[in-house]
Assembly symmetry: C2
Homo-oligomer: 300 residues x 2
């Protein structure tokens, strides 16, 4: 069973999302020239929407090692910039063709397709501007490692590669290992980097990172199963976006392969395993524990 | 008058382009899974086309400071990855809607739009993977600075911002300062970073970089004027892509504002100024001098 943790996840989550939004608002002030529309599109997508799970994970993991929260928030903002760029591009007509995201019109609907492509590209670059700023960490070796690992997690060996696998999966009958691999790249890699970033900020030796990588891998997979369950349940209000589209596209999901009940059990088991990886920690891991529990009962 | 320089630009250029292609070929080996099509699209766009002006500039500038050519080639490959991602995205139907690039079908024509978006995104991330590899430089401070400056040169304050300005310029009557500013962001920033990257590799103090920044700024502008002249002249074989589209889109260019003769004179003057910035250097600057001369007489 999950242990009770005395942490107000909602208020922590709101506070951290607010801190991320503040950094975006500061970085995305209109420059007062023809790029104002680009910056407005970036703000539209980045500010005020979503649970900001990845920054929350980065901050929560940084507590294990006594890292300055401000630094973890900066890294979380860089990760969120990557996540948001990927949502903008995934929503394009040539990809998932979605009109709504986080309860608002998608960027290509609110602006246009060209601005959506360039707003995504701009947020992508912005992530590396944030990470290389000495305010993120005074050790340039930490900053360089953060950039390299974020690039790996988001590029062809990570998120972008997973998105291609997802497009290729339409009409294919993938099995459980294939779906797991696909999701590990598409959403898992960036979630895992969110936790790993705290290990990097703390300059934790690689061999000491195993439990945190285990936690992140379990949470990432539980998150994806929960996402499939939301898509399957068909509640667009909870999802903040169009649902039921995986089944519509003939895509195998954890739910289509396992059935709803077993998928739910599997997610629950993954959450319990995630929490077990934190057994050596006391109260400093409570936020990570709370996030693991939340992942299976969330809206996004 | 331009001085004669005894350097075989053609063979140097071919050799460096070959070295860049080798790195791309090595990084973009098919992974043997559903991502093979993504990697093929990245290879299609990155390998074997174009003059690779930016890597050539990075290598040429690195000679001023006795930097290992291998390092400069790696940085040049990262810059080329950014340049190629921007070409893939600019060619998309929602942007310039071009079918041909460097004499080959554009990525969305040879593959599809979704793959083109993701191949661009993947090359974007790959650039930062290359820069953060210790093979690029053993000083992590150099690697972090390269990442930060490349992000700035390619993001909303650089290339992507300039592309938005260019889209906004359709049907507007921009004046010379506005066009210069637009081009300084759209193409100038990445060309300037190509030269700056050598200063970063050499850990040259900021105050010693002025002549090289002057060279790069002049060459970048001369390059853009030459590009406008090619677009205006209408030789698609030289351009390797559709031409005459700026006039078609009602866009002001250096040629439409200055007239063909004055534009040509202006480019020539910029090239001479660029070379003057190298006056304190001997034969180690010959490749940079040769590139400056070539810029106004090139195909791309």
């Amino acid at each position: 069973m999950m242990e009770q943790v005395s942490i107000d996840l909602d208020s922590e989550s709101r506070r951290i999302a607010g801190a991320v939004d503040s950094i975006f608002a500061q970085l995305l002030e209109p420059p007062g020239d023809p790029r104002d529309r680009l910056f407005a599109a970036m703000r539209h997508a980045a500010i005020g929407g979503g649970k900001k799970l990845r920054p929350l994970l980065a901050v929560a993991a940084s507590r294990l090692f006594g890292i300055d929260e401000e630094r973890a928030v900066r890294v979380g903002t860089a990760i969120e910039a990557i996540h948001v760029y990927s949502l903008i591009h995934d929503d394009l007509p040539a990809m998932d063709d979605d009109d709504m995201r986080r309860g608002k019109p998608t960027v290509h609907k609110a602006y246009d397709e060209a601005i959506a492509i360039l707003a995504g590209d701009s947020l992508h670059a912005l992530a590396f501007e944030i990470l290389t700023d000495p305010a993120t960490h005074d050790d340039p070796s930490v900053r360089s490692t953060l950039c390299g690992e974020l690039a790996r997690a988001s590029g062809p060996s990570g998120m972008a590669g997973g998105q291609v696998m997802d497009l290729a999966a339409e009409g294919q009958s993938l099995d459980l290992p294939a779906i797991t691999r696909l999701q590990q790249l598409k959403t898992g890699a960036l979630i895992e980097f969110s936790v790993e970033s705290a290990c990097i900020l703390a300059r934790l030796p690689i061999e000491a990172r195993t439990p945190y990588r285990g936690y992140a891998r379990n949470v990432g997979l539980a998150f994806q199963i929960a996402d499939d369950l939301i898509d399957h349940s068909g509640d667009e209000e909870v999802a903040g976006k169009r649902v039921g589209k995986d089944a519509g596209a003939g895509k195998a999901t954890f739910v289509s392969l396992l059935g709803e009940d077993r998928a739910r059990q599997q997610a629950q088991m993954l959450v319990e395993q995630a929490v077990e990886h934190l057994a050596s920690h006391g109260a400093e891991a409570d936020l990570l524990r709370a996030i693991a529990g939340f992942v299976t009962e969330r809206d996004r």
